[in-house]
Subunit: 514 residues, 2 copies
Amino acid sequence: MNEKIESNMTESAPSLRERFRQYVHKMKSYEETVGVLYYDLRTQAPKEAVEGRAEVIGTLSTELFKLSTSEELGQYLSELSEPELWQQLDEVDRKLVEELKKEYDRSKKIPAEMYQEYVTLTSKAESVWEEAKEASDFARFQPYLEKIVAFNQRFVELWGYEGHPYNTLLDTYEPGLTVDQLDEVFGVVRERAVPLVAEIARQHQPQRDFLYSGFDEEQQKAFSTYILKEIGFSFRAGRLDASAHPFAIGLNLGDVRITTKYLPNDITFSLFSSIHEGGHALYEQNISSKLAGTPLCTGTSMAIHESQSRYWENKVGRSLSFWKKHYGKLQEMFPDAFGSVSLETFYKAINVVEPSLIRIEADELTYNLHIMIRYELEKALIGGELEVKDLPQAWNAKYEEYLGITPPNDAKGVLQDVHWSGGSFGYFPSYSLGNMYAAQLMHTMKQQIPDYEAHIEAGELHVLKDWLTAHIYQHGKLLTPGELIERITGQSLDPAYLVDYLDEKYRQVYSLES
Amino acid sequence: MNEKIESNMTESAPSLRERFRQYVHKMKSYEETVGVLYYDLRTQAPKEAVEGRAEVIGTLSTELFKLSTSEELGQYLSELSEPELWQQLDEVDRKLVEELKKEYDRSKKIPAEMYQEYVTLTSKAESVWEEAKEASDFARFQPYLEKIVAFNQRFVELWGYEGHPYNTLLDTYEPGLTVDQLDEVFGVVRERAVPLVAEIARQHQPQRDFLYSGFDEEQQKAFSTYILKEIGFSFRAGRLDASAHPFAIGLNLGDVRITTKYLPNDITFSLFSSIHEGGHALYEQNISSKLAGTPLCTGTSMAIHESQSRYWENKVGRSLSFWKKHYGKLQEMFPDAFGSVSLETFYKAINVVEPSLIRIEADELTYNLHIMIRYELEKALIGGELEVKDLPQAWNAKYEEYLGITPPNDAKGVLQDVHWSGGSFGYFPSYSLGNMYAAQLMHTMKQQIPDYEAHIEAGELHVLKDWLTAHIYQHGKLLTPGELIERITGQSLDPAYLVDYLDEKYRQVYSLES
């Protein structure tokens, strides 16, 4: 009762703001908790823990969903949006209100039972997808995928859309991104990357068998650790572990963890996935502490996040300058494999381009074609121009068209990715956008950082990290992807930087004429 | 609204029971979550994670406390206690209602603000205790401990008590235990263990320097793992990790984890703490699955739990029969340390009795005297017969009286244990009760298991584990400690078994006259 009297009579902005902040902090605590549970499950929980733990994660996630759609939060958001109070809010508070309101309004438009039904469907669908992939049998997964697509179409109707219905889904992962933009940027990729891939496919491949000899797990781990320290990953505020699939997770500012996987006969997997996840981690470790404990304390979008993992993995980690500094160490740690392999040979081997069936194994160049295929198919599915039953044929046709190869079965084709079983439509384009952002950012970095290459050759990678921290990392989610890229590079997303970079690099690697 | 109509018109036991069970399951999910967060923090979280994570644990613990004191739970408990519904409940439901009601009534008697104040006080007090211990300065901790004692005295008043006020605190850890019983059992210990310790102190000590040579951490880990497998710890449903202080935690039936610590110059620490925590884990891994996901899925009391860790650590792990089987393996893994040490010499070395200042480093025999001292001091503090300011002197006097040694400073005396800073009064006696239960249970085991020693010598420890599972582990919290010990041994707790066992064992180890 006292509280009500107080809220009517003496309520002022700071106190409402304070309570809002506490509420947000609680949400973030749940998010962090779910993160720890997830990380534990993926990296170290014993076999028999899994079933019970999955339920616990479900319970906590549901609590988090309730918090993010509660009347109480709605009240905070609407009161703080009143002009009088709004004026008293600082930049962080305002962005928090905006972000949460967007999320809140979206969630509120979906009836609770529909959402519940969808959650149940997708969690079942993931198991069915696993079985279907195992059996390489799309028909088994088809009825689930049909429902998931239908749900997403209904969500789009409920959320509303402008232009293409797929735009609304894109916006979930990359705020403001549209089909028109994507068609344009992928058009550029198609026009220049497809013929380049075809040209390379006719070349003689460099030697690379030495990458696939035997590698001791402990030594691999030691080398990944070495490289992570070199790029500036803080082990005081993070960990490296092993898991079935590599991932990165920012639990809080002082706890950003990454995983990799040590394959006995392939050093490249642990090496480049460590750098890739390390790139994600650098972003999460270097956000301004003023955003700590809020939902703004993370990357601004999937694509910008991916731009960082891919910048460090490919633009740095697969560059000649980088290996001029670190190849000696690699040779020292794996003398049997690399003792008699020259730097030049090694560099070409880690930059082999080859049309292949599996996205996650694809090289830097063809990777974008894998994504383009998924984008075109998703867009058609959501737009109603393609039916789920026709998806495998459409998939195979596109692989033939863009990469010149046809999957022998569904497991190596349409069933290879988990994303659709979880309903993540609109997610795939982020990967290619990440490549595009990375190339565009690197172009600016080279202009603004004197002796850019020399720093990399000298192992002074902190110069890169500091620049990225100042321009990207520290801002967390305070700036939108569009604001960020515009502010840094002076223009909006332009795929030309990526295709120029790829063209130059791979013509050099394969000694092609320009 | 629909739900209300339903609950008035068509409510029947199964549906209320179902909702109650879901509620309880949710509580258990929170408990499991806090457990995972805690385990992660102690075993692997990076340094900079700690501050933020401690807050998250606080938030989730508060949510759990709210769940366990909510109106909703109170409603379930009172409705299910109505004779009509009660009759329809099975054994598990009834015990759940009883246990939660006891907890609920206790919590409800403490005003929320008082509890909050106490939680804040104890969490501060733990840091202050750490500093005070570091500086060996009791005066720094004194004002906090005074408040904590005063709070506990107030709690006892609010909860009510019969006989001695300390009884109510004892009941928290060992339901039904009283000061009268404890005075009697510790009387027996004092009468027979104190002179035995004094007699041994006059003897020549066996050689034991080989236990404290250099031991490789990986090898120690491998040996702990070997021994844990031998006693029946399931690594499919558990883990072994390293942490600053060893502990065991049952997260769910399929996930029971233990920790140890590898000291480079002391094999006994990792070895016996692994077996000790392994004993706790065997209990938690072998509870009936019908109790899974409920608060009954744990040991029935601190003391019964401790009886299991101590049974496996001391009665099994420090027995000659056990090492007849496993000493060869130890020699094989650490040839430098044990290659030329006979089994007999090793056995005597791991059973050295020596009055010492630090409880957690104490041997099997003197350990009980450390506990007795704490029990007598706690009882006096809570009873108001001893003031906190006089505690260090009282502590030192008792160490002189029972162990014949006086702590040189507070760090090695009254400040050595964390328990009081957290307000855990009534907890210490569980350790000695555990020893007593263990001895009494072993007496029955030897009667009921033909060739008891021969099984141990043959490494057939599953015979012991199966017996303990059938008689203790499977029941979880379904039976009280009193019911359990009465049912198994045909009588209530009797300390004679412990002192008989200790007398026989250590007279043999030290070749004393009986």
